[in-house]
């Protein structure tokens, strides 16, 4: 099953000429936000039918509309490097996404983290553009996917909400 991880900066995942094939730069490893040896990721349906909803939930957890960098990779590859994706409650303004699609990659050692980064890199980091993020957020707000009280006021004021 595919998993999605939010990246801070897609540029950190570019491969300079000196990088051996299949490896990632140290900057890429540092781009992952690990907390308490866990990395937050999101389950994506095989047909990617919930991809935009997950992106919208991630984009709603900000103060203003901005591009969003992410990667989708195969969960099966994680097992090969000894990393488990454990279901847990997400913390985004979309409750359905929080309850159904959030996972934590747990018990990450330094070595496992590098292996995870290499798996993520194999999924080709993507960028959801500024205008696409705005469209996705607008749809999410209009369709009632987001809880307005969980969206920061500044961003909430910039989105249309159902009456």
């Amino acid at each position: 099953m595919p998993l999605l991880v939010k990246l801070d900066n897609k540029r950190m995942w570019d491969s300079p000429g000196w990088l051996p094939a299949g490896e990632v730069t140290a900057d890429a490893v540092l781009d992952l936000r690990v907390e308490q040896n866990e990395l937050s990721v999101w389950f994506v349906e095989q047909d990617r039918s919930n991809l935009e909803r997950v992106l919208g939930a991630l984009a709603a957890n900000r103060e203003h509309v901005e591009k969003l960098d992410y990667a989708v990779f195969d969960e099966a590859s994680l097992a090969q490097v000894g990393v488990e994706a454990r279901p847990s409650q997400g913390q985004l303004p979309d409750e359905h996404a929080n309850e159904n699609w959030h996972r934590d990659l747990v018990e990450l050692s330094g070595r496992r983290l590098v292996a995870v980064a290499e798996v993520i890199a194999s999924g080709s980091p993507q960028r959801c553009s500024h205008s696409n993020v705005r469209r996705i957020l607008t749809d999410a707000a209009v369709q009632g996917h987001l809880r307005r009280d969980l969206v920061r006021e500044r961003l909430a004021a910039d989105l249309p909400w159902p009456q």
Binding site: N9, K10, D14, R62, V65, L68, S131
Partner: protein, 221 residues
């Protein structure tokens, strides 16, 4: 404005050659443009320079103004360099205000085009942390500050030619926020020469977005 009155006064000098008048006319047009859009130090220096070529009477005053502008821009650039060094410790998150965005916006409001001139010097000097510079350029495009719109557009276009791909990316993201289709030819040129495949794709995305936005805005008007 000093520059404007100087240029007009000189227009009454019948001893000027035809070529001189043309230069003067261009200076006048530029002066009006700068007055409307927010004159930059470089712009003022250009106009002052033209004035000096045709009127020695204002030479001393103009030189003093240009020197003061230069000193102010230099001082601001030094202040920014210090701040940039401090910000190297920070980790940035998309879509969230941080010390960089807050500080830069304060400086933009306070110093207007002088601030953009100072930041342009830093972009041109290429001796700043690319990650911090990228963050600065991204926010520079996001800020709403009409008097400096042209100068910020110019700076971000210049940023597309930075040596670091991280900085070039920041400039492109700033342009995506600014959403000004005048940046399109510069983005096309950047795409044509971009050596990093992933960044080339992202530059194309910004160009498509920018042209799409421009079309949508034109349709609304």
């Amino acid at each position: 404005m000093i520059e404007s009155s100087t240029a007009l006064d000189q227009g009454q000098d019948t001893s000027l050659s035809h070529a001189g008048l043309e230069v003067l006319a261009r200076a006048f047009v530029l002066t009006v443009h700068l007055a409307l859009s927010g004159a930059s130090t470089a712009g003022r220096a250009f106009v002052v320079g033209l004035s000096n070529a045709t009127a020695s009477r204002t030479h001393t005053e103009a030189s003093e103004n240009a020197t003061a502008d230069e000193d102010r821009a230099h001082e601001l650039a030094e202040q920014l360099r210090t701040m940039f060094r401090h910000w190297e410790e920070l980790r940035f998150r998309d879509g969230v205000e941080n010390e960089v965005s807050r500080s830069l916006y304060r400086m933009l409001v306070l110093h207007s085009t002088d601030f953009v001139d100072a930041l342009t010097r830093i972009v041109a000097s290429e001796n700043t942390n690319p990650r911090v510079l990228a963050e600065a350029m991204r926010h520079l495009g996001r800020f709403v500050h009409q008097p400096t719109r042209h100068e910020r557009l110019w700076l971000l276009e210049r940023g597309l030619r930075a040596s670091s791909p991280v900085s070039r990316d920041g400039a492109a993201l700033g342009l995506a926020h600014l959403a000004d289709k005048r940046a399109a030819p510069y983005l096309e040129a950047a795409i044509a020469t971009e050596p990093v495949p992933g960044l080339r794709d992202d530059l194309k995305q910004v160009l498509d977005e920018l042209l799409g936005n421009a079309v949508a805005r034109e349709a609304r008007q």
